[in-house]
């Protein structure tokens, strides 16, 4: 090997191309730290200090955060009242389906709720449905967002079957989701004084402005033989039908709450609230439950202890792990990179670490 060649080449390795041997260099790849896989790299390893510090810090941050979340959730006042069972007259209690499906029976039902603590305005009114699979594939797909958005797409109802069209033309809004619109209504009063329920702005602003057209009016809705739920006022455009918008935001879980309205006044502790419920919606055929929920809100949302508790548990476990690792480190110190673990002489197959 000629040393001359070696020196020119090492010069080329440094990045400078010597012209003397241009033929040689023509096939040579361009040198860069990337091509040589020599980019400067940071190579962290899991030292005990690093790992223990990580777990400790997570624990220290998570436990207070969990406590804060939990207390936020605790501050939320919530009244939940299940009414589907008790709003069925006792003579129909064996055949609730017959009760709910008979239009001639008065479905009114009065419930009394006691406010446990001061509920600051706004108090949100939700209806909660249990065992209601709004996330079922056939159900979720049975809608036409195009049709809801603009009147020109009125006829695009291909996913909506069987609630796609009647003899008079396409159903607007079509599909099972709209068809099954929730139609229980609630009237609230305290000491025979009616409480105003604000049903405006319960739907998302984006839905009102972009998803539901202001020139789309309900057509042929609930005109078939089988009535699924609420009827819609065909003189009001969809962009004003906020109950529909709320309902059409399908829930991902079989238990869900949907906003019914807002009470924009404080409810005092121990006040008795009279609720007149029009119990129209049929959940009896699939043993679903209906609940009325009055709830205040906090920065974390409604009443939900999960996050707080999970935070405390995870934080606690992290601290526990940190302590364990510290103990292990103290009791059984193990030098990192100890060459005595590099026992090549042991039979390779017998040492599977």
């Amino acid at each position: 090997m000629d040393t001359n060649g070696a020196t020119t080449s090492s010069a080329a390795g440094g990045g400078s191309t010597s012209k003397s041997s241009s033929k040689k260099h023509s096939r040579k790849p361009v040198y860069s730290r990337f091509t040589q896989q020599e980019l400067p790299a940071c190579k962290p390893i899991l030292t005990p200090g690093l790992v223990i510090a990580t777990f400790t810090i997570i624990g220290i941050i998570f436990i207070p955060l969990g406590l804060v979340s939990l207390s936020a959730s605790e501050k939320v006042v919530e009244i939940v009242d299940r009414y589907d069972e008790s709003c069925v007259p006792s003579d129909y209690s064996n055949d609730k389906l017959k009760f709910i499906q008979n239009p001639s029976i008065n479905k009114s039902c009065v419930r009394t709720l006691t406010v446990p603590k001061l509920m600051k305005s706004p108090v949100f009114i939700y209806y909660q449905l249990d065992n209601y699979y709004q996330n079922h594939r056939r159900y979720v797909k049975s809608r036409s967002d195009k049709q809801l958005r603009s009147v020109s797409d009125e006829k695009s109802t291909k996913d909506c079957s069987p609630e796609d069209k009647t003899v008079d033309g396409p159903i607007v809004p079509c599909g099972l989701v709209a068809w099954s619109l929730f139609n229980d209504t609630y009237g609230f009063s305290v000491n025979s004084k009616t409480i105003e329920v604000n049903k405006h702005d319960i739907a998302w602003k984006s839905d009102k402005e972009h998803k539901f057209g202001s020139n789309v009016y309900p057509k042929n809705f609930q005109s078939g033989g089988l009535i699924g739920g609420a009827k819609l006022n065909s003189s009001v455009p969809l962009s004003k039908q906020e109950d529909l918008m709320v309902w059409m935001r399908t829930a991902a879980l079989p238990t869900f709450r949907k906003l019914y309205g807002k009470i924009e006044q404080d409810l005092q502790a121990n006040e008795k609230i009279q609720v007149v419920i029009q119990n129209n919606y049929n959940t009896y055929s699939f043993s679903g439950k209906k609940k009325l929920v009055l709830s205040t809100t906090s920065w974390i949302g409604g009443k939900n202890d999960f996050l707080g508790i999970a935070y405390i548990i995870v934080g606690g476990l992290c601290l526990f792990l940190a302590v364990c690792f510290i103990l292990l480190y103290v009791i059984k110190p193990r030098p990192l990179g100890d060459p005595s673990y590099l026992s090549w002489n042991r039979s390779p197959a017998g040492h599977p670490n």
Binding site: K43, R249, V314, D338
Partner: protein, 781 residues
């Protein structure tokens, strides 16, 4: 949902592995300026799993740059003292004095070839030769004042000591690997004498010496040169009578023009002429070992790779080269077992004997190698394939000499059939079959043209680059592919598991939690980039790997990609899916359980976990990795904000809404902590308390200190070797006692001593074997 992404990412990454090989500045042959090249981009990680390397000798281990070193003319040894015959005053004087033997010898050196002299304008003569040996001989002759000056049609012109001698070439009997010699028939233009000049392997020349010639000194010369690892050629000549030549010429012409069995007929015709030689002498040509060959072989052997040398060369030359390049260890550590025999029975017995020795010694840490020649190999492969296979498995080293290209390929096939990953490396056309047969073919783009390099998966300029090719490129590629493929499964499985869990709360109706855009983008945009930059990941630095080549064992044994590691990743994906799913459905319950929102919460949970999983599994962070991992996380939000800004999309405004909610961010950090905490804890525990060798080396490397002491501890890979192993005596059935069995050879000289007494025996044996092999070859043709 078999992840299509795995295929795409793997292909991308593999082409990058190949590019890294092409780009590697440390694998450029600076003599020729040729960089290494990966022709096959698909098998880089197989390089890291090589278990057997089959190597050619000439041009692969050696430089294939032939230099004339010694010669023996009429019983006089030249060049023994100085090591260079061209500088030996004895020879120079003999040349000057015009000693007829020497002149005749030089004449054969100069004209018994197919070299073409080319005269440049300045008058200097350069030679164009097909074979490096001929080139060396012609050049050496020229330096000894026998200048092959010109070739004009059939007239050769030779200048010797100022006088010009002209020869007319009548016939050229070309070299074939079966005959192992080549001859020319020339007519001296001055005297009109017709002479046959031959050169060839000793066993192709010496047995055909005329009756009465003492070939003893030549045999000794051949032996001696072979012990030194030199390539020997015997030169001979014979004066032909005019009528004898004419008669033969007719026969030869007829043979050359036959259509059936021409090669055989020509060989037969040649045989008619090539006998009763007057042996002139022996030349010894040195073919130096390439730089770094012993180190490379030692390192790779330490890495647990078994080496087989398959060569067409003589046994002794092969053994010497093997010794000088650490292929086999000298006596106290190593032991050479010979398989030979001319008949089935002999081969069988010798095979069984070797096998028995192998079985006994396999428990002892001793370098046992077997040597087999082409003829015995042929019999062994044909009749005792099973025994030979067992031997092949037991033996870490083997030397197969005098093997044909097809036998090379057969041996590769044999090892492949035992489920070993084989790598064949060679440089010449005769290695092409072996290279193509092996799992990985490596060609040396050397002096014998590019045939091998073209046929191979990888072409490198020098043998020593093999170390880097396997240990660095092969190992990194394997590690990266192992991570990448398992990670690709992991990330796809996370999504799948979440979908499955979701189906249980959606009435098992098959609703997709994620919208179609997210599902599409998940593999393409959200998770592909971080894993692709894992091509830059290096678990250990190159220096550490070179220092501890044993670490390659993890690749060979498939420690990083096997059912149990796969199960680990499977479990991790299941765990992460549970974490993401449970946390998102509980944090986003009741009034928040809106489909699109929940779907984005779960999806972003997955993406966050991906980022941290990649970060945790990355060993070395370059700026690109940071960019890819954290940039990808940012890109996820950017992409989703863009989608959220399109009114027509299903997730219109969703991402903006989520990002404004504190509970969203709280949920994300909960998912990350709950998902990564146990993974980190487990990894830390194994890393510290059950470290793999890779981990230990990583720690050693990065803590800085102990790495130096590591180097001191490590050079005794097998401490047991120090113990004295009683030399095994194999009882040979023949009464003539065994020269070979324990080949005592610390140095070429000592081995010569041990071989000395056996030489004649060997010779007679080889003589008879040769003739039989010759006739066999003829029949084969």
């Amino acid at each position: 949902m078999i992840p299509i992404s795995i295929k795409v990412s793997l292909d991308l990454v593999k082409s990058l592995y190949a590019k890294f090989i092409d780009w590697d500045a440390e694998m450029i042959d600076y003599e020729t300026g040729i960089p290494s090249h990966a022709t096959n981009t698909a098998i880089s990680e197989d390089l890291g799993q090589v278990e057997y390397i089959m190597t050619d000798k000439t041009g692969t281990l050696t430089e294939n740059r032939m230099i004339f070193r010694r010669c023996c003319i009429s019983g006089v040894f030249y060049g023994n003292e100085s090591g260079d015959a061209l500088k030996d005053m004895k020879l120079l004087n003999a040349v000057a004095g015009g000693s007829p033997d020497v002149v005749q010898f030089l004449t054969v050196m100069a004209i018994c070839n197919t070299v073409v002299p080319i005269k440049s304008k300045t008058g200097a003569i350069s030679y164009k030769a097909q074979s490096q040996d001929e080139d060396a001989l012609v050049n050496a002759a020229a330096q000894l004042h026998m200048v092959y000056a010109n070739k004009n049609a059939n007239i050769l012109e030779i200048r010797f000591n100022g006088s010009v001698i002209k020869y007319e070439v009548l016939e050229i009997l070309e070299f074939t690997s079966d005959r192992k010699r080549m001859s020319v028939v020339v007519k001296d233009c001055q005297t009109g004498k017709i002479v046959l000049l031959s050169k060839g392997a000793d066993e192709a020349i010496l047995p055909y010496a005329f009756v009465g010639q003492q070939t003893r000194t030549f045999i000794e010369a051949v032996e001696q040169y072979a012990q030194l690892g030199l390539r020997t050629l015997c030169l001979a000549c014979r004066e032909l009578r005019e009528d004898e030549y004419q008669e033969w010429s007719l026969m030869f012409k007829e043979a050359s023009s036959t259509l059936v069995d021409r090669e055989w007929r020509i060989a037969e015709a040649c045989q008619r002429l090539e006998h009763d030689f007057e042996v002139l002498g022996v030349t010894a040509i040195e073919d130096r070992l390439q730089d770094g060959v012993p180190e490379t072989i030692e390192t790779l052997r330490k890495a647990g790779i078994n080496f087989w040398m398959l060569t067409g060369d003589k046994q002794n030359t092969a053994i010497q080269i093997a010794l000088s390049c650490n292929f086999i260890s000298p006596e106290p550590k190593g032991q050479l077992l010979l398989i030979d025999g001319k008949t089935e029975d002999e081969v069988c017995r010798s095979l069984e004997r070797v096998l028995l020795t192998m079985r006994i010694t396999s428990s002892e840490p001793k370098d046992v190698a077997f040597v087999v020649d082409g003829w015995a190999l042929e019999i062994a492969l044909k009749h005792y394939r099973k025994a030979f296979t067992e031997l092949a498995i037991l033996s870490r080293t083997a030397i197969c000499c005098r093997v044909t290209p097809s036998q090379k390929a057969q041996l590769v096939e044999l090892l492949k059939s035992c489920d070993y990953r084989t790598l064949a490396i060679g440089d010449g056309g005769n290695d092409v079959r072996m290279i193509q047969q092996a799992d990985i073919g490596v060609g040396i783009s050397g002096r014998e043209g590019l045939q091998a390099a073209r046929a191979a998966d990888y072409s490198i300029g020098k043998f020593r680059f093999l170390k880097r090719l396997i240990l660095v490129h092969g190992r990194y590629s394997y590690n990266r592919t192992a991570f990448l493929s398992q990670y690709s499964f992991y990330k796809s499985l996370v999504i799948c598991f979440i979908q499955i869990f979701f189906s249980f709360i959606s009435g098992v109706s098959g609703t997709s939690l994620f919208n179609s855009v997210s599902l599409m983008a998940y593999n393409v945009f959200y998770t592909s980039v971080p894993v692709l930059v894992s091509v830059l990941d290096k678990d250990l630095s190159e220096g550490t790997i070179m220092q501890h080549p044993q670490i390659l064992f993890y690749c060979q044994a498939g420690r990083l990609l096997n059912p149990s590691t796969f199960a680990g990743w499977f479990g991790r994906s299941l765990f992460h899916a549970i974490v993401v799913f449970v946390i998102s459905i509980h944090a986003y319950a009741y009034e928040k359980s809106e489909m699109e929102e929940l779907s984005m919460v779960a999806l972003s949970g997955c993406i966050w976990l991906q980022a941290f999983v990649v970060a945790l599994e990355t060993n070395s962070f370059t700026i690109l990795q940071h960019l890819a991992i954290w940039g990808n996380l940012v890109a996820f939000y950017v992409i989703n904000w863009i989608f959220s800004a399109i009114p027509a999309s299903g997730m219109y405004t969703i991402m903006f809404r989520l990002c404004r909610q504190p509970s969203y961010w709280i949920t994300m950090s909960l998912i990350v902590a709950a998902g990564m905490g146990p993974v980190l804890a487990l990894k830390y525990f194994r890393y510290t308390y059950r470290p793999s060798k890779i981990n230990t080396l990583q720690q050693a490397e990065r803590m800085g200190g102990p790495i130096l002491t590591l180097g001191n501890i490590e050079p005794h890979p097998r401490p047991m070797e120090k113990e004295v192993v009683s030399p095994l005596q194999i009882s040979q059935p023949k009464n003539r006692n065994p020269v070979y069995e324990p080949l005592l050879s610390d140095s070429p000289n000592s081995s010569r001593r041990s071989l000395g007494s056996g030489a004649p025996f060997d010779f007679f044996q080889s003589q008879s074997r040769l003739s039989s092999s010759y006739s066999r070859n003829c029949k084969d043709n």
